[in-house]
């Protein structure tokens, strides 16, 4: 990423993270289980897996802070989960997973499922939630995971589209999908 590209990269980052936060907060929960659309997880996974670190870290931290600010949980579970995605990407994800939207959606979905369970544990430890039936918690985790797949894919697709429109990434498509390297055309 050259110095000239920084403003456009930051502009896309600002638009994408803000849009994701607004959508996650504004859209009503799923009618049958109360799970919210995890757009912020999708954005965090996209940046952690597919964008250069100088952009990925601010995006991950900002998304986490926004999620914690908008949620009613006492601890910083959102930021912690997103830092965990970043650590996973640094150690394993970027080397092993193909650089495409599907990888980002998969990582986002797994994070959403885990985060749902962690949130339940945190709320129980704080005494803010009564003990729920194990099958209910499990079904909620599974639904979060399944629901996160299309949501995270959509978040990554929109973020990728904006990055391509802003010429932050190469626009040629190769056999493995779009080239997500930081070089612009």
């Amino acid at each position: 990423m050259t110095r000239a590209e920084i403003p456009f990269n930051l502009l896309v980052l600002f638009v994408v993270v803000t849009l994701a936060a607004v959508l996650q907060d504004w859209l009503p929960p799923l009618p049958w289980c109360g799970v919210k659309a995890p757009f912020l997880i999708g954005v965090a996974a996209y940046y952690a897996l597919l964008r250069p670190w100088p952009l990925a870290l601010p995006a991950v931290v900002w998304s986490g802070l926004l999620l914690d600010g908008l949620s009613s949980l006492p601890g910083g579970t959102g930021l912690a989960a997103f830092l965990a995605i970043a650590a996973f990407s640094a150690v394993w994800g970027r080397k092993q997973l193909p650089e495409n939207i599907l990888s980002s959606a998969l990582v986002g979905a797994v994070t959403a499922g885990l985060l749902t369970f962690i949130e339940y544990v945190v709320l129980r430890l704080c005494g803010d939630l009564p003990a729920l039936d194990g099958s209910f918690v499990l079904s909620r985790v599974v639904i979060s995971l399944i629901y996160a797949l299309p949501v995270c894919a959509a978040a990554a697709a929109v973020a990728g589209l904006l990055d391509r429109l802003a010429l932050n990434v190469r626009t040629e498509k190769n056999a493995a999908g779009f080239d997500w390297s930081s070089d612009s055309v």
Partner: protein
């Protein structure tokens, strides 16, 4: 190699510390006030679309609303007289006037961003006079109370949340019966029914006297005990009464009057005596 080993320990420790970190109120206020203008825009766009989709029936709706406005204007005149009488009597009895006024707010979001608690976010906050513990009502009945207020928004804990407690009575007064209304986590989108594998019950009114005989469809109102909710706000109607598991009390199932799935506007009852200087709980 040493750096990798250090990172392998430091990163998980850092993540645990961040997770245990208590999110400060200013961070919550900043996030909520930051996204509120966009949510307000979304609310208004939704209202516009709703209006366009109902364009055909607008003339009939307008006619019905005109009649309703006339009825309410007449009632308002009567209430104005009663209010003046009330103030005069309170002056004679040397009682401090306690007449809450209301602030109408738009419902910006349904449910918290994490999806675990039954909350709504409204478009009025501390700047407009909303304070923690202010009761929130809809046209049909009680909605909940304010649990957090930022400069331009406020979070309302619905009476359907498992952490909600409302001291209730019956109308007409059934032998001064009292009970505590708790939420059961009824979802706020769509009608109550099956929530995954679990049957969702409406609200539960606990600690009713064992010998109490409630009439069919008794109306539940706030009792005024506890100081948060004023007395007499309609809450719901009793659907079923059964013995408590302990055998010491009865408990009733209550269907709320307010339709939580279609809340668009609510009123916050503002009372200076209940003001809290804090931003509130998360």
């Amino acid at each position: 190699m040493k750096i990798r080993r250090f990172a392998g320990i430091a990163v998980p420790v850092a993540i645990i510390i961040v997770a245990a970190w208590r999110v400060p109120q200013w961070q919550r206020n900043l996030a909520r006030d930051g996204v509120a203008p966009y949510e307000r825009f979304g609310f208004r766009a939704g209202q516009e679309m709703r209006a366009w989709s109902r364009l055909g029936g607008m003339a009939a709706e307008n006619w019905a609303l005109e009649i309703r406005v006339q009825e309410l204007e007449a009632e308002l005149l009567l209430l104005h007289t009663l209010r003046t009488d009330n103030a005069a009597l309170r002056r004679q009895l040397d009682c401090a006037p306690r007449l809450p006024h209301h602030i109408t707010a738009e419902v910006l979001t349904l449910g918290s961003a994490d999806g675990w608690s039954q909350r709504i976010r409204i478009s009025k906050g501390r700047r407009q006079g909303v304070r923690v513990n202010n009761p929130v009502v809809a046209a049909e009945g009680l909605v909940g109370r304010v649990v957090a207020a930022s400069a331009s928004t406020a979070d309302v804990l619905l009476i359907t949340d498992v952490n909600s407690r409302v001291a209730c009575a019956f109308e007409p007064d059934v032998a001064s019966a009292r009970g505590i209304l708790t939420g059961t986590g009824t979802r706020i989108a769509g009608p109550a029914g099956l929530q995954l594998l679990h049957t969702i019950e409406p609200l539960r009114l606990a600690y009713l006297e064992k010998e109490l005989e409630l009439p069919q469809a008794a109306k539940v109102v706030t009792s005024g005990i506890g100081g948060v909710y004023p007395r007499g706000i309609p809450v719901g109607v009793v659907a079923e009464v059964e013995q408590d598991a302990s055998g010491l009390y009865q408990r009733a199932t209550v269907v709320p009057f307010a339709d939580f799935s279609s809340l668009r506007y609510v009123s916050v009852l503002v009372d200076a005596s209940l003001e809290s200087p804090e931003g509130g709980q998360p």
